[in-house]
């Protein structure tokens, strides 16, 4: 990781992006932990019924299953740390931007003028850690700001709503 991810006293990166709070990493690990349990159950079922599933190619089938299992397990362990380090977002008067990704890094940009709707959602995992997601909806798709602290998520949603209302009032 390079110095693009270092933050100053105000919690901003060199190019003015915010980074996530460390608690978000716990939520990601918990989510992936649940994912791992489901994956392990699926693999256990395959192991039990391997002769019915792979018929005469049991060894080949089991080798492929185990290879996929190991790969996905490694991914589930490593992903939260990488995702957390890479996740950045920023919002100014004109736009909302999110940079994130594990294997593929994406940079989403939404002009505030195009925003139709802003939702704050809290799933059970996020609620446990006092986190929330902000879903920004345009007529052409959505962008999510994930794993934000609840107060911050509410304040971002409020600011966005205020900007939209202000813009609509100007048009009237």
């Amino acid at each position: 990781m390079n110095k693009d991810f270092d933050v100053d006293e105000e919690g901003l990166t060199i190019d003015g992006y915010h980074v996530l709070e460390p608690v978000s990493k716990k939520a990601m690990y918990l989510r992936n932990g649940i994912g791992f349990v489901i994956l392990a159950l699926v693999v256990a079922i395959i192991v039990v019924y391997r002769r019915d599933i792979f018929v005469e190619q049991v060894d080949l089938g089991m080798s492929a299953t185990m290879a996929v299992f190991v790969l996905l397990t490694v991914y589930l362990i490593v992903a939260p740390s990488v995702y957390y380090r890479r996740y950045r977002y920023r919002m100014d008067d004109d736009k909302v931007e999110v940079r994130k990704g594990i294997i593929t890094i994406t940079h989403d940009m939404v002009p505030i003028e195009r925003v139709h709707q802003v939702n704050v959602s809290r799933g059970p995992i996020n609620r446990r850690y006092g986190l929330a997601n902000v879903l920004v909806t345009t007529a052409g798709g959505t962008v999510s700001l994930s794993y934000l602290e609840e107060d911050l998520a509410e304040s971002i949603a409020t600011k966005l709503n205020e900007k939209i209302i202000e813009m609509l009032k100007k048009r009237d």
């Binding site: 994406t106 002009p111 798709g141």
Partner: protein
């Protein structure tokens, strides 16, 4: 409209509902009868069921017909359904994007037309907001009045019909369009279904032949016939800011839309058509629904003729100052790696299939086993050839260009799309770079637009990240400095 006018659907809609229900129920019954079809004793029972269905649908349709009214006020259309399921729908004229006309066989028989009211929304994009069946003359008059409000058009339908078409499209062109303008994947599916049908005839398998013929009809015949029936007698013209398309052999379509409702214009070149230097011209329009959702501005013609029509019919999307940038050569690396990963997945699957079938076919005679083995090995070879072809064609054709008001992506591989997109219509952008592409400073850009079918994503090829980032930045800059004026698009 000075005074409120109340309309009801033409009573023929009751007959249409009865016929549709009977055909649907009749098909379900026949398809579920299996081998008992051959014994004729079922006919009276099916007839009885159909009579009961027809009577029930007729009564319900009559009730709905009586209780449904369309009121045209000076401001809006009010659709009131006063049945057990009450519905009140207000469609303001200012929200109407288009009023289209459709005429099917029953409409021709009864001298009626179906008016389809489409609003500026991606939410109700899958179907029209409201439809009203009226006597043709009344429907034409009403449509003229509504169009004059939506499009500020002064001319009437009768005068519209005198406007010459912007390009001459013969019915031979339409037949050619039916065959060559299908996406390559559909054509491949059709060819495979044909081969399957021939093989089944060869082996005398009646069950296999029926499935093969079914696939052949679904994959090849129906798309071609539908396309020919739909675009027969094609004409297109532009009056002021309104483009109108008329076509249809059995069902007649007349779609009008304002140029400011067009989000992007696409020159589409399926592989087979490209071999003959031919292309089609299509538009992404907000406010059209159903079968006319993505209007074809030009069925398959020579590429230079398509480009000429493009400049003539919708010059707002042309920008000669754009400098085309080819996908950089280093883009070959992430593309090849992507295809190798795909091959690593596909080839073992085919190999496992080969091994499994080899075991299954041990009891069959040598020829069938050889044929299946040959098929699987051929599939492996074809997969590799297709992967190499995909990379080669994508690399040689993908381009990107930025203009004043529009930008351009040439994307695809076997089928090419040259997409002209207005910055002011972009809803959001996403620049993404994978593990390999990042090493070379390359990314791909997804542009999200509102479209007739909800929303649409257009993905570019691999280009230098800052170049693609500039698309989103330009969208924001245009809003900030006032070059984007929302009033242009209302």
């Amino acid at each position: 409209m000075t005074e409120d006018r109340v309309f009801r659907n033409h009573p023929s809609v009751i007959l249409r509902n009865v016929i549709s229900a009977c055909v649907f129920i009749g098909l379900i019954i026949v398809l579920n009868m299996g081998s008992s079809v051959e014994d004729g004793g079922w006919v009276p029972y099916v007839a009885l069921v159909l009579v009961v269905v027809a009577a029930a649908v007729a009564v319900i349709s009559y009730y709905i017909w009586r209780k449904t009214t369309y009121t045209f006020t000076s401001e809006e259309i009010v659709i009131r359904v006063d049945t057990a399921f009450k519905k009140l729908n207000h469609i303001q004229y200012s929200k109407l994007a288009s009023v289209n006309v459709r005429r099917g066989i029953l409409n021709h028989l009864f001298g009626t037309s179906i008016l389809m009211f489409n609003v500026n929304s991606s939410v109700n994009a899958q179907s029209a907001e409201g439809t009203l069946t009226l006597k043709k003359e009344i429907a034409d008059r009403l449509r003229d009045e509504l169009n004059s409000m939506i499009f500020q058009k002064e001319i009437t339908l009768q005068e519209d019909l005198q406007v010459p078409t912007a390009i001459h499209i013969s019915n031979t062109d339409i037949i050619l369009h039916g065959f060559l303008a299908q996406p390559t994947i559909s054509s491949i599916f059709g060819v495979l279904a044909t081969i399957y049908a021939i093989v089944m005839i060869f082996f005398g398998s009646s069950g296999g032949l029926i499935s093969a013929l079914f696939l052949f009809f679904i994959g090849e015949v129906i798309p071609i016939v539908t396309s020919i029936l739909k675009y027969y007698n094609y004409r297109i013209y532009r009056v002021d800011d309104t483009i109108t398309i008329e076509c249809g052999m059995i069902n007649n379509y007349r779609s009008s839309f304002k140029v400011n409702k067009v989000n992007s214009v696409r020159i589409r070149e399926p592989l087979l058509a490209r071999a003959f230097h031919m292309a089609t011209l299509e538009a992404e329009v907000v406010g059209l629904a159903g079968e006319e959702a993505i209007p074809i501005l030009c069925p398959l013609k020579r590429r230079f003729e398509v480009e000429a029509l493009f400049r003539n019919i919708i010059p707002e999307f042309c920008d000669d100052s754009m400098e085309l940038v080819h996908q950089p050569r280093v883009a070959l690396v992430p593309m090849v790696v992507g295809q190798v990963i795909l091959a690593v997945v596909v080839i073992p699957i085919l190999y496992i299939l080969y091994k499994v079938l080899f075991v299954e076919l041990r009891g069959y005679d040598g020829f069938i086993a050889d044929l299946v083995s040959f098929g699987i090995i051929a599939a492996m070879v074809v997969s590799v050839v297709l992967m190499v072809g995909y990379v080669g064609l994508a690399q040689s054709h993908r381009m990107f260009a930025r203009g004043e008001e529009v930008f351009l992506f040439v994307h695809g591989s076997f089928d090419l799309n040259t997409e002209y997109i207005m910055y002011d219509k972009v809803q959001c952008t996403c620049v993404m770079s994978g593990l390999i592409a990042r090493r070379f400073g390359l990314s791909r850009c997804t542009v999200n637009l509102m479209s007739s079918t909800g929303f649409k994503q257009i993905v570019s090829g691999y280009f230098h990240s800052p170049d693609l980032e500039s698309v989103g930045e330009e969208v924001v800059a245009r809003i900030g400095d006032g070059r984007y004026d929302y009033r242009r698009f209302y």
